[in-house]
């Protein structure tokens, strides 16, 4: 899967449509520091990494302090997890203070930590569970992807969006948010401006989902498993999907990760389908080797997750070692959640125009209902 650096995932910072600058893709590589050589590049990441760590740890401290205070003074207050605190602190910083450029490269590593966390989380699932829940998830994922693609393309047409912008929004909504948009952008030869707008819409809606989904889940008294499946199916960006689940509960976060990983695994097929469609229209380059294209687009961290789960199932790790791997995974996610808050700047996101945001928002609401129906149906049939 492809990713972006911090400045790119924050579309307003390099808006091709606003300032005339083109968004610069980092490709599928780690964000680099400012120096030219490896030590310089690593040194360039340190300030941002320290900021991610500081915000994450502050989130943990807030959770423990507030919960401890409320317990000691018998005050009834909802248990706000470190996940939400880390995101809130990051959001406050990125929206009220101009974060100096020196932090950008390190903050941009949040997606790297997300993938490290997902692979390590494989140690919390034996392969049998992965295959059972993953199998059910795959059925739901296929239905969700088909429904989301059709719906978003129809809404795009209805609201008069440019066809390639509608395609990017559809891919981002159906599969895995920003990463899917970047993967599709190159494959369908879309304009940079379209991808900037689509990314802005997906990120704005992802930030909204962090608050809305847990509230709805609690209102409907959803079980941890059902809620995890729902967020894994309905929330677009992987970081936000996992964060929404983790805000609800630890179990919901784990299930959300598994379902979202199954959804991410479909990225190659969806992007290939659109690449073939646009190439037949004469508006994109032809894909010569479809197998190689699928292998290139397939997210490698999905294989890593399965491999670690396989090692666990082969009893390669003792109980304390599994605990240690689980905690390492939590630390990696902590850096990710801090990054989610730090790279979200609402003012810049809303600069990208109302219509794509409206189409995205309408689509998200309908997809949330569709997937909620799917989860409740699957719960009745398979006991998800």
């Amino acid at each position: 899967m492809t990713t972006l650096d911090a400045s790119q995932t924050e579309p307003g910072s390099r808006p091709g449509s606003q300032s005339g600058e083109q968004p610069v893709s980092m490709g599928d590589k780690l964000p680099a520091g400012t120096g030219g050589h490896l030590p310089g590049r690593i040194a360039g990441l340190l300030p941002g990494l320290a900021l991610l760590g500081g915000v994450g740890i502050l989130g943990k401290v807030m959770e423990q302090t507030i919960n401890g205070y409320c317990k000691a003074h018998h005050i009834v207050f909802p248990n706000i997890e470190y996940v939400l605190w880390a995101i809130i602190i990051g959001l406050v910083l990125s929206n009220l203070v101009t974060i100096p450029k020196i932090f950008e490269a390190g903050v941009g590593t949040y997606e790297f930590w997300l993938k490290v966390g997902i692979v390590l989380l494989g140690a919390r699932f034996v392969l049998g569970d992965v295959l059972k829940l993953g199998g059910i998830s795959l059925i739901l994922v296929v239905v969700e992807i088909a429904g989301a693609l059709l719906l978003m393309l129809w809404l795009g047409k209805l609201f008069g969006l440019k066809p390639k912008l509608a395609t990017l929004l559809a891919v981002g909504t159906a599969v895995c948010g920003v990463s899917a948009i970047i993967a599709a952008r190159a494959s369908i030869d879309s304009e940079d401006e379209d991808s900037t707008v689509a990314i802005a819409a997906i990120l704005a809606l992802g930030a909204f989902a962090l608050v809305a989904f847990p509230l709805i889940g609690h209102a409907l008294h959803m079980s941890d498993r059902a809620f995890g499946v729902w967020t894994g199916l309905a929330v677009d960006n992987t970081a936000e999907a996992i964060a929404s689940g983790a805000i609800y509960s630890d179990t919901a976060g784990k299930i959300s990760t598994l379902v979202k990983t199954a959804r991410n695994a479909m990225i190659g097929f969806v992007v290939l389908g659109f690449a073939i469609y646009w190439s037949r229209q004469g508006l994109a380059s032809r894909i010569e080797h479809k197998g190689a294209f699928l292998a290139e687009k397939f997210p490698k961290f999905v294989l890593g997750f399965l491999a670690i789960s396989l090692l666990l199932s082969a009893h390669l790790f003792s109980k304390p070692q599994v605990q240690a791997l689980g905690n390492l995974s939590k630390w990696a996610f902590l850096l990710t959640f801090a990054g989610v808050g730090l790279r979200t700047n609402f003012r810049k996101l809303f600069q990208q125009g109302a219509r794509p945001l409206l189409v995205g928002a309408l689509g998200e609401v309908l997809i949330a209902f569709l997937t909620l129906g799917l989860v409740l149906g699957a719960n009745a049939i398979w006991g998800v």
Partner: protein, 41 residues
């Protein structure tokens, strides 16, 4: 050396996904070998 030749000789760069998988496996190996024992949370 021409630019083309330099391009051909350039070592292939790893993707973000591959780096993440390698890092996770390195951490798992350190835990398995007992070099990383208890990770506080």
């Amino acid at each position: 050396m021409s630019n083309e030749a330099a391009k051909t000789l350039k070592a292939p760069t790893l993707s973000l996904d591959s780096w993440a998988v390698l890092t996770a496996f390195l951490l798992a190996a350190l835990v398995r070998m007992g070099l990383l024992k208890s990770i506080p949370w």
